[in-house]
Symmetry: C2
Subunit: 395 residues, 2 copies
């Protein structure tokens, strides 16, 4: 048959980085390209214990159909935690989604008409960019500075794109740049969103994983007008394979998301939701998070120290205060894609070319993303040495 696909499928092209990521399946390749939590960050014994208890004591509830909004005890636990953080406000609701990815997709479907604009940081998380494109959004990227998105360029983008529906921001340890937005910029971004009548999607998957520096209040804590949609996730704190995340927003917005979620997957895997709830109830969550931060602090330090020791100083990089990623930038005149391709093909070190994180194919970058959570310590040391040698032979 000559298949006639929907026009929107034209928005979704095979990713330019797919070829490079293919190599990451090869176990002999050093995996700086992934974004997986470290194996030692999974509390596997405790999850196994809880899961077994649920399936022994309450199996039907864990295996039967459930409600779209999410498992009520988990929602209540999270509501309490996020009310205490001033992220969940009066008039807000909290719903469970099948990973933040689903939250991004559903939010786009709820807010964006074909051709409406979504403004994002440039670079930004490729999964979010693809969800926006799949939803027919016009993507506009705004350049980042050391302390977050450029406020001047953001205002220009808002002036030039009157059909903007929301800003997509990852204020903490951004993916891919590792940059944290300053409090001043968070305030400025919020005020600008209010001024131009657009919403903000604040994606905070890494927020808990701060291993140095001072906590910066989330944009959602500033939100008196109900314009911020906040996304949190268990993917980096407990398990990404479970696909459990949550959205906090004004109830008028979450109600719409629930309506679309029902048509999308009815509800999120209920066993996983029960495991998350019981884990939070029976464990010291703050101590668990502190343990993760210590794991990632060490790994980040190992990679950053290696880069300082082995990289040609003409290659610059960010110094993240948390999260999973470092953003390296090659000097002018160097072919970044060639560098990344050689790294994986000749030296078996996989990094992600920065183009993957650009809102539009025409956006140019000389940067690449390094991940320190997935590789072992030995892989970090060896991989950085190999990349370091490459930086002294740049073409």
């Amino acid at each position: 048959m000559n298949y006639k696909f929907a026009d929107r499928m034209g928005n979704l092209k095979a990713s330019a980085i797919r070829e490079i990521l293919k190599h990451t399946q090869d176990p002999s390749v050093i995996p700086f390209a992934a974004g997986n939590p470290a194996p030692e960050a999974f509390p596997t014994a405790e999850i196994a214990r809880i899961s077994n208890e649920i399936l022994q004591k309450n199996p039907i509830a864990a295996l039967q159909y459930s409600i779209t909004e999410g498992y009520t005890p988990l929602r209540n636990t999270l509501k309490e935690q996020y009310q205490a953080k001033n992220i969940m406000k009066d008039g807000d609701d909290l719903i469970i989604v099948t990973g933040t990815q689903q939250g991004l997709d559903l939010t786009t479907r709820v807010l964006v008409n074909e051709g409406d604009t979504v403004i994002c940081e440039m670079p930004s998380f490729v999964g979010a960019l693809n969800a926006f494109k799949a939803g027919g959004a016009n993507l506009v990227g705004v350049e980042m500075e050391d302390d977050g998105i450029s406020i001047e360029k953001l205002e220009k983008a808002l002036q030039e794109n009157k059909n903007t529906k929301f800003l997509y921001l990852i204020p903490n340890f951004q993916n891919p740049s590792g940059i944290t937005m300053s409090l001043e910029k968070r305030k400025a971004v919020y005020e600008m969103a209010l001024k131009y009548g657009v919403m903000i999607f604040e994606d905070n998957p890494y927020g808990d994983l701060r291993f140095t520096g001072e906590h910066v209040p989330n944009i959602k804590t500033l939100d008196t007008e109900g314009i911020v949609i906040y996304a949190g996730s268990f993917s980096k704190t407990l398990s990404p394979g479970m696909r459990v995340a949550f959205i906090i927003a004004n109830a008028a917005v979450t109600q719409k998301i629930v309506v679309v979620k029902q048509t999308n997957d009815v509800h999120t895997n209920i066993w996983s939701q029960m495991v998350c709830e019981q884990f939070m109830r029976e464990n010291d969550w703050d101590a668990h998070i502190a343990n993760l931060c210590e794991i990632y602090r060490k790994k980040a330090k190992l990679m950053l120290d290696g880069m300082d020791a082995h990289f040609n100083p003409i290659v610059t990089h960010t110094v993240p205060e948390g999260g999973l990623f470092i953003w390296g930038t090659l000097p002018e005149g160097v072919d970044m894609m060639k560098f990344c391709t050689e790294a994986v093909q000749e030296h078996k070190v996989a990094v992600v070319p920065g183009t993957a994180f650009m809102p539009n194919e025409s956006d140019v970058t000389r940067s690449f993303r390094l991940n320190f959570s997935t590789p072992t310590d030995e892989q970090i040391v060896r991989g950085i040495e190999l990349l370091g040698k490459m930086t002294y032979n740049l073409k």
Copy 2:
């Protein structure tokens, strides 16, 4: 804030049956309105054993990120099973989805432009209808006869709707009608789809649950041209809470579905996929299915016998050969919605008004859906007696 939602949200209205379904949360209400597998149909001990083994032996694989297409060993097991059934053909691929609901949603997004037509049986599964509406489809319902969709009316609908992208059909023990499509009609429908150049989405969640009569080959077995998208699910055979289902279609189609799935939820809960795979590998699947069929055969018989004994014969009903549902029809002149409302409010018996399953709000029906898998045997006997009394006092 004065929220501006996307235009497509106007397609999704709060369900007319929501009020009635609210009562089903009340444990004192007899649940003929649900579609849940019977509690005794869950192999809970075996799932607990397998899950525990996975989380002891291979926890990181069960909790880490995975690939969008699905868990390879599960896909391979299913491919083998469905090749043997002649449902999976040369050129086809099989991918895992987060419940058939996601398969319906993703297929709509892959195939349907705003305003394109999807033709479905009338009545049909409300979750599918909502997924099509959410995707901007124009829904056209075609009346059913005792042996499935009316072929004459289907051809008329195809002639009148040149922009039809696919037919949505549940040939086995249809939800909500319980009707099974005859082999002759399956052949006729397939030929007609070929003639008019449209695809078929064959939804088969109940196909394994035949408790009487002879197996009828699936439409997909007739498919020489790659126009049938087949959906199977573990929701009725193992656990709906796991949200694991699968799509079999020409690889050109599954590739597109995978691209959209990646933007939607990255991948399906991997622990659940591993449990499904190991359950199929270590258990006699056919014996497991035979056990389920026996459970539902008894429950269906209990309900049908009760209806024959207690219902006023002016109320007719289907006699399903499998699945979970019976479709009752009130005589002309009776207010069906009033009947359903009184049933739940005055007699605490919840059934679903047939309007819930109509493609368009203007479609009229005097029918209602009864489910025999969710209630206990005692609830079936008592509930049918109560409804039976009502059928002698119809207004």
